[in-house]
Symmetry: C2
Subunit: 553 residues, 2 copies
């Protein structure tokens, strides 16, 4: 088991003129302590425009500063946003390599796509293409690390002629790769790409075993084709943490920060509207907060406690096969001195329980995985060598870059479908925006229900179901019930209850319309008690996007 | 007078596995010394793919590392490449602000466009639009610093909806702005934009007075409309430096590095062909070097000397009105221990000669300029406030971003003209590539000479002449002479010599064709003795682009 600390650089309003400077100075001091007491990693996010939630917009700068204040701690990008409209892949390769140089090879390179509307809309990243951008950029960037020269790129997302991208990393072939897993299914993606899974999905220790088994089973299977030129087999999970000898004091010091973290996350990643420079998420939180806090701390509360409680909790995660625990201490209004005390105490009383024999265990794991990793790497297409030296010709390169081929029929069809889907969503959202609950219930006549569920079934997106098979039952209040049965790539709707539903949702008819329009968040409806669920809870959060609605990820 | 040191992170081949790591570690140690002995600035370039010449691809990372090893020295981006295809303007604002936070407000923000074929072709930046991109991005970035929220952008180069770009800088309204002046005329652009001029053009002390007078005259005139929300009135020049009590030793230690610097610069910014991952610039330099070294050190040699020689030289620049001397020590094969010794000696023996009364002089300068600066700032369009709160709507933002208006007739005409110009250049370069000097001389019959000079005159680009008026005489060997007279925006060609030419070029007819085709560099022809010049030397380097040929900048 390895240990990390995690930074969003949260800054609840109101802000003082020196708030951001203090935030950064405190964080650097905390990282210095973490390094001294034996933490293995500091992870920092890259987020843009997410006021209050994350003021960490240039992690390459913060981590570079941290590199000169520390000796051993690894510097983790958790994560870099790799879609080219945000960061040109060559710029990513350059900054990762430069950080690796100034830190003497201490970089871990986490990657991701971004998923808030604030970021995607701000940089013009199409939500439906961002996963493809991630995969494409990761391939290009890892080749920039190892190819001399990088042999060039020609994809729908990046065009670049051959160049020697310098400097190169200290770690060879490149720093360990990770991917952010905002939803747990992405852990499968990580395994198939042979890279570390940074799970932000607050997995319970009881569920962690399943995810760890899935991860290693896939990573050792033939489905694993590494995204990089080395495999990083590690599963890390992120949890809020605060440590104090008195468990009640640990909770007092950490609970509000953890609850604000979850609240602000829901603000930016749910359907709430954000008004730049204008919202006060902290203000709203203190109004809504107590309720959220009480409900919200359950899965998170585990890491707010005494050293012995933390040892017990971590032991359960270790037994479940988790390789790294990453702790969020800097969250919401959590105090710098409390964070420093927690880190010191953790280093003194908790860490030593997990270090004995650790390197031996890690060596064993490496040997066990070695044959599978070797086999996986042989499946990855190798670094390219140009068949003949490439001579730079600016004019020719520019005209190749600016010339775009005409769209194919498939492109046009996809664009038309997308426009139709957006239009449907738009009409639905106008409908729900202008009518009361009563109006909407009346509007949803039996005939319209049939139309709605038939359209939902027709719009079923198998790739968003992650292999799910079974029946979904919708108990619409006041009085109608519909079922959608999913088998293979097809879904079929029929009126009435299901015999053994995989998931049953009970909710006002109006709220179903709101979920499909993307203006209501199932998680928020669940917290407020308007939505009741029997069955697989995580499935519920995917209902909208399974049927062509917007994804919160 | 203030003092800076300057980093390209040069690394001549051959490379060892740890060469880049050592290069960076040494540089950090040098910066620590510079800070301790009283240097005011460390400047770092941002260059991409320029193997051997510059391994400084992520200066935000290096400067952030330096921030934690130093106390007072200012951290200068010299420069950030601001065309959006290289760095998204929001990413630039973010990284500059973050560096300002971790350094406690020590950032100077130099800006530029990039101009090597390796970089422009690599990122797909159109040379003819990069100046416009620079101006546009600078306006957007400075607004991101001061507007809360940034009110959005809609230009041919950047589209972005309103967002609050965070974090904000420590220095208010933002760090001092500069622009790279690879050619001396850009000093006028700096003045008109109310920003510092970082002159890389190796100005002689005798010429510096004129440039300084021009700079301050324009900056204090009504032509100055600040690019930022504060004015930075400073002129800095960059020179190679090495200091030793024995002037001959200083020269021995520094001359080769300075010569390599100039040689590698000419390689990437001249018409030489670069083959990524393949060239050895150092190898070619050691073959061509001695000659270059001898000729090349003239304007540079001044800052290789004893403390007293440096004091004398700097005094001349100070008298000419230069505000900052920026020294290149890390160049070519220059040794780390020599650089450290130079910095120590400079701090001990040279710096003290310029610090007495310096703050008083700077205060006087500030008061003298204050009224003009106030007037200039009142001409800048102010920070914007949204008339009503803007609510983020990802779908609407994405469709606005991806919808592009059809090209206007003016766009189409410009594109056609550009294509014709490129085609002409292409035909010319094919001609010169396949024929010997004798063939070319024969090919250039009197009739074709008339056609060529008439076309040159017609292609005259007044904006590339920077207000030049006068006559250019071309003495083509073996025996014909042509003159082009420039008056206002027009040029006229006629056979025969000029009465009082502003510039007279004597060169083989074949070489004129090569210059116009962009395959020969006037500077290189000058060094090799094939081209002889009477008159304004800097005008000669602009001849090709004044008549529609390629610009080396």
């Amino acid at each position: 088991m390895r240990f990390g600390i995690f930074y969003e650089h949260q800054l609840p309003r109101p802000w003082e003129p020196d708030s951001e400077q203090r935030l950064y100075a405190d964080a650097l001091e905390q990282v210095e302590i973490a390094d001294r007491v034996g933490f293995d990693y500091v992870w920092e996010v890259e987020h843009h425009f997410l006021e209050e939630y994350s003021h960490s917009a240039a992690p390459e700068v913060f981590l570079a500063a941290a590199s000169q204040r520390t000796r051993n701690i690894r510097l983790g990008h958790g994560i870099v946003q790799v879609p080219p409209p945000v960061n040109h892949p060559a710029r990513v390769a350059e900054r990762v390599a430069t950080l690796d140089l100034v830190s003497g090879g201490r970089v871990d390179f986490g990657t991701g796509e971004a998923s808030s509307a604030a970021e995607l809309g701000g940089f013009g990243v199409d939500r439906e293409r961002k996963r493809a951008m991630w995969q494409d950029s990761l391939d290009a960037i890892t080749r920039m690390f190892v190819e001399e020269p990088f042999a060039g790129w020609h994809s729908p997302y990046l065009r670049m002629p051959p160049r020697n991208v310098i400097p190169k990393t200290v770690q060879k072939p490149h720093p360990p790769l990770w991917v952010a897993c905002s939803r747990r299914e992405t852990i499968h993606l990580a395994a198939r790409n042979g890279i570390g899974a940074l799970s932000f999905a607050f997995v319970h220790p009881e569920d962690a075993g399943k995810w760890s088994r899935d991860y290693y089973r896939l990573l050792e299977s033939e489905e694993c084709v590494p995204a990089g030129f080395a495999v990083n087999a590690n599963l890390a999970i992120v949890l809020p943490m605060m440590c104090h000898e008195d468990p009640a004091e640990a909770r007092r010091r950490g609970a509000l920060g953890a609850a604000f973290f979850a609240y602000a996350l829901a603000h930016y990643y749910g359907p709430s509207k954000h008004t730049p420079g204008h919202n006060s998420i902290w203000g709203n939180f203190t109004k809504d907060g107590p309720k959220m806090g009480a409900q919200g701390t359950d899965p998170l509360a585990g890491a707010l406690g005494s050293p012995q409680q933390l040892i017990d909790l971590i032991t359960r995660y270790e037994a479940a096969g988790v390789d790294q625990m990453i702790f969020v201490l800097q969250a919401g209004p959590n105090r710098h001195d409390h964070i420093c005390e927690s880190l010191e105490l953790f280093g003194k009383k908790v860490l030593p329980a997990f270090t004995e024999g650790r390197e031996e265990r890690e060596r064993e794991k490496s040997s066990r995985l070695a044959p599978a990793i070797e086999a996986a790497l042989s499946r990855r297409s190798p670094a390219r060598r140009l068949s003949q030296p490439y001579v730079i010709d600016e004019d020719a390169e520019l005209s190749r870059l600016t010339h775009r081929p005409p769209p194919t029929p498939a492109d046009l069809l996809a664009a038309t479908r997308k426009r139709a889907r957006l239009m449907g969503r738009h009409l639905l959202s106008r409908l729900v925006a202008t009518r009361s609950d009563e109006d909407l219930t009346r509007w949803l006549t039996p005939g319209r229900q049939r139309l709605l569920f038939t359209l939902m079934a027709r719009s079923f997106q198998p790739d968003k179901a992650f292999g799910f098979q079974g029946t979904l039952e919708f108990r619409l209040q006041p009085r109608s019930t519909w079922t959608i049965a999913i088998r293979g790539p097809r879904a079929r709707a029929f009126p009435g209850p299901a015999r053994t539903p995989s998931l049953s949702l009970t909710l006002p008819a109006a709220d179903l319309l709101r979920i499909l329009a993307g203006t209501a968040n199932p998680a928020a409806l669940l917290v407020s008690g308007r939505l009741k669920i029997t069955g697989d809870v995580t499935l519920a959060s995917r209902v909208a996007e399974m049927f062509g609605g917007p994804s919160p990820y």
